[in-house]
């Protein structure tokens, strides 16, 4: 399924391109999809075993979308995501151990253990964060594109920003305000709606006056396109085409990748609002086994190679869990690190219950205030 909102000689279909597809590359996509699949399954397990706290949202069912999108991104591009971002970090190149360590809240985690599952960040990888406020990443991602445009014009090799958001996030004001700004300022950004059919329990139809979400660029003259999010090659190609316009024209673009969330909204959600039939139907659409058998059919991968990739994924994730489990937690003494980048006087560094002023030595306070006070 592929529709174009603004017919502009859409991209070649996945089928067409698949022809000229390097088998090694295809196997690599499968390898990445399988890594996400296993990582997320183990993450769910670790959450139920209380190794992971807070909220934990998984990419299960979105593997083809994740891998396809990341395949289209240059290392020099910037990526902003929602809180459902483990897979993106992994495929973007983060060490699985450091990703798992972040989920475990360890100092070696991608964000030093301070962000957790929803807030993966890596400067080197230009992964500029997972964001827990729905739609929260859309404006900052737009601002990153502003910085790119501020520093240089369009061109085939120029940097671009990719901003991921969920179907539910298209209903929040930030979506409207950000896309409008990108349009009037001509910013190099590709907004990708990862449509997995649901908010938490709310369907796209119940939440959006225009449920064909790729059409929602209409209010800003931003071309929109929908692609099958279960087809890794279709996703990659649609993203490549969109990014090309983004780079060469500084024309913001909108892409919708449609897939299905295989589990609950987060690990703790039993998804009772979804019927067993529906759940069963979704399993049949599972992109990971589908791509596996597809490659075996086309002869790009044999059963043995597939089995090896599966085993390798298990091993990598097992190592990641070990690494995270052995990694030390952050030192409470470091509590106040990173609150400010530029140190200033009287910044509060007091622990709960500490006196505002060191007792019996008011005279000594002035110099020491920054160090001991609980000051604002």
């Amino acid at each position: 399924m592929q529709q174009t909102h603004e017919p502009a000689g859409g991209p070649a279909t996945a089928a067409q391109r698949e022809a000229k597809q390097d088998p090694e590359e295809l196997r690599d996509y499968y390898r990445q999809m399988m890594l996400i699949r296993v990582f997320e399954q183990r993450a769910a397990e670790m959450y139920t075993r209380a190794k992971i706290g807070g909220y934990c949202h998984l990419n299960l069912g979105e593997e083809a979308t994740v891998v396809g999108l990341m395949a289209a991104l240059h290392p020099t591009d910037y990526l902003f995501t929602s809180y459902r971002e483990h897979g993106y970090a992994l495929v973007r190149g983060a060490q699985p151990g450091r990703v798992m360590a972040e989920l475990f809240g360890r100092a070696a985690g991608l964000s030093g253990g301070r962000g957790g599952s929803m807030h993966l960040y890596d400067t080197q990888l230009r992964l500029l964060g997972g964001y827990g406020i729905v739609g929260g990443q859309i404006a900052p991602a737009t601002g990153a594109a502003l910085a790119l445009a501020y520093r240089g014009g369009p061109g085939p090799d120029r940097e671009a920003v990719m901003c991921l958001l969920g179907d539910g996030a298209t209903n929040i004001g930030a979506f409207h305000e950000s896309l409008n700004l990108a349009a009037v300022w001509k910013l190099p950004i590709l907004y990708v709606i990862v449509n997995n059919g649901l908010g938490m329990g709310t369907t796209v139809e119940a939440a959006s006056g225009e449920p064909e979400l790729f059409r929602r660029g209409c209010s800003y003259r931003i071309p929109g396109q929908r692609v099958d999010g279960n087809d890794v090659l279709a996703v990659r190609d649609a993203a490549l085409d969109a990014l090309e316009r983004v780079r060469t024209e500084h024309q913001p673009m909108l892409l919708e990748a449609v897939s299905y969330r295989l589990r609950g909204h987060s690990v703790v959600d039993p998804a009772r609002y979804r019927s067993d039939e529906e759940t069963a139907r979704l399993r049949t659409l599972d992109p990971v086994p589908a791509f596996r058998s597809r490659l075996i059919e086309t002869g790009d991968m044999d059963e043995a190679a597939a089995a090896q990739i599966d085993a390798e994924a298990e091993r990598i994730v097992a190592d990641a869990v070990d690494f995270a489990d052995r990694a030390p937690a952050p030192d409470p003494a470091a509590l106040f690190d990173y609150v400010y980048a530029t140190p200033v006087a009287n910044a509060g560094r007091g622990r709960p219950g500490d006196p505002l002023f060191p007792a019996d030595q008011p005279a000594a306070n002035f110099a020491g205030a920054a160090q001991f006070g609980i000051g604002g």
């Binding site: 709310t202 119940a206 409470p332 604002g376």
Partner: protein
């Protein structure tokens, strides 16, 4: 009286008020089909249908503003904001409209709106999902801001809020939903604007609210055994603030400590301490100390989160420091007991 969880008390109250008044409707994200992020509204969609239990798209500003308009026409919407952290997206509608329309339009309209929302950290939800921003709302004339600590007050204050003709923010707390307590059967309302003495005492006044008040109450009982008689005051109503109940207690005990979950600087405790030093100046034997959260965006990692949040240990230390600073004699105290 029945032993109910704070969650159950809220749920039962919503149900009772919806049965009582056809104009009461629920608006919020995932409150219907999903039955609520914290299940307060479980079963209500099935009972009252989609007309009165309205799932919304994700658009806090939009649906809170919509609830305001519905209230202007006489409906009594009870909005659930999934957590207080997301209320920032609706705060323009809450503060620039709900709180002001009546005054600004010369008393021609009222906004009978209730916004229920939980705050609180300690769940490893990280910086953006763990805040206690109630002081922002408590600062705003035109709003009423309630923060029940017990299941009984949850019922009494939510009932009062729904029947009140002004916009009311009912602050809930993630850590309280599963706590249980005796809840009066039938009609039960708590007068908005009044604090309550949770536990009477002689030696020191401990002022708190919401989750922290539960900890304060527990600490007070532990110290009782050690010969320290602590009077615990649960503010309950942050706006209006019942200063007199607080100061009357301090005039008696001559000492006070505030225990709060929000950040120390410019937090709820600042107003409490400022009010006490004005209302009980001549009686106060030691400075009013505040035990509050460290001033950091709350980190996800458990050891850091624990280091940042106020707890019983810090509270007990500060109570003792305050008593020691005034030469309090533990013997003498226990002899009272």
């Amino acid at each position: 009286m029945a032993m109910l969880s704070y969650r159950q008390a809220l749920h039962d109250t919503l149900r009772a008020e919806m049965q009582r008044d056809e104009d009461v409707l629920l608006i919020g994200e995932e409150i219907g089909v999903f039955e609520g992020s914290y299940k307060i509204t479980a079963g209500l969609l099935a009972e009252f249908g989609p007309r009165r239990v309205r799932d919304t798209p994700i658009c806090e500003g939009g649906f809170v503003g919509t609830a305001i308009g519905a209230a202007m026409l006489g409906l009594r919407p009870v909005v659930e904001l999934m957590t207080i952290n997301f209320s920032l997206l609706a705060i323009d509608q809450i503060v620039n409209h709900a709180a002001k329309l009546r005054s600004m339009f010369g008393g021609q309209v009222s906004v009978p709106l209730v916004i229920r929302t939980p705050g609180g950290g300690g769940q490893q939800l990280a910086a953006t999902h763990s805040q206690n921003l109630e002081v922002w709302y408590a600062h705003v004339p035109g709003l009423k801001v309630l923060a029940p600590a017990t299941a009984a007050d949850a019922k009494g204050m939510l009932t009062a809020a729904i029947r009140d003709d002004d916009p009311v923010i009912l602050l809930e707390n993630l850590a309280l939903y599963n706590t249980k307590g005796e809840v009066p059967d039938g009609e039960h309302t708590v007068p908005i604007g009044t604090a309550t003495v949770m536990k009477p005492g002689r030696d020191i006044t401990l002022v708190s609210y919401s989750r922290a008040a539960v900890v304060a109450f527990d600490v007070a009982h532990r110290l009782e055994a050690q010969g320290i008689s602590v009077e615990v005051i649960d503010l309950r109503s942050l706006r209006p603030l019942d200063r007199e109940t607080v100061c009357a207690s301090v005039r008696k005990t001559t000492r006070a400590v505030v225990f709060e979950d929000d950040w120390l600087s410019y937090g709820i405790g600042a107003e409490v301490a400022a009010s006490i030093q004005e209302g009980a100046f001549d009686h106060l034997d030691a400075p009013v100390r505040r035990v509050a959260a460290a001033e950091v965006p709350l980190p996800y990692a458990k050891p850091l989160e624990l280091a940042a949040l106020p707890d019983a240990t810090a509270l007990i230390r500060v109570i003792r420091e305050t008593l020691d600073a005034t030469g309090f004699s533990y013997q003498e105290a226990s002899s009272h007991a």
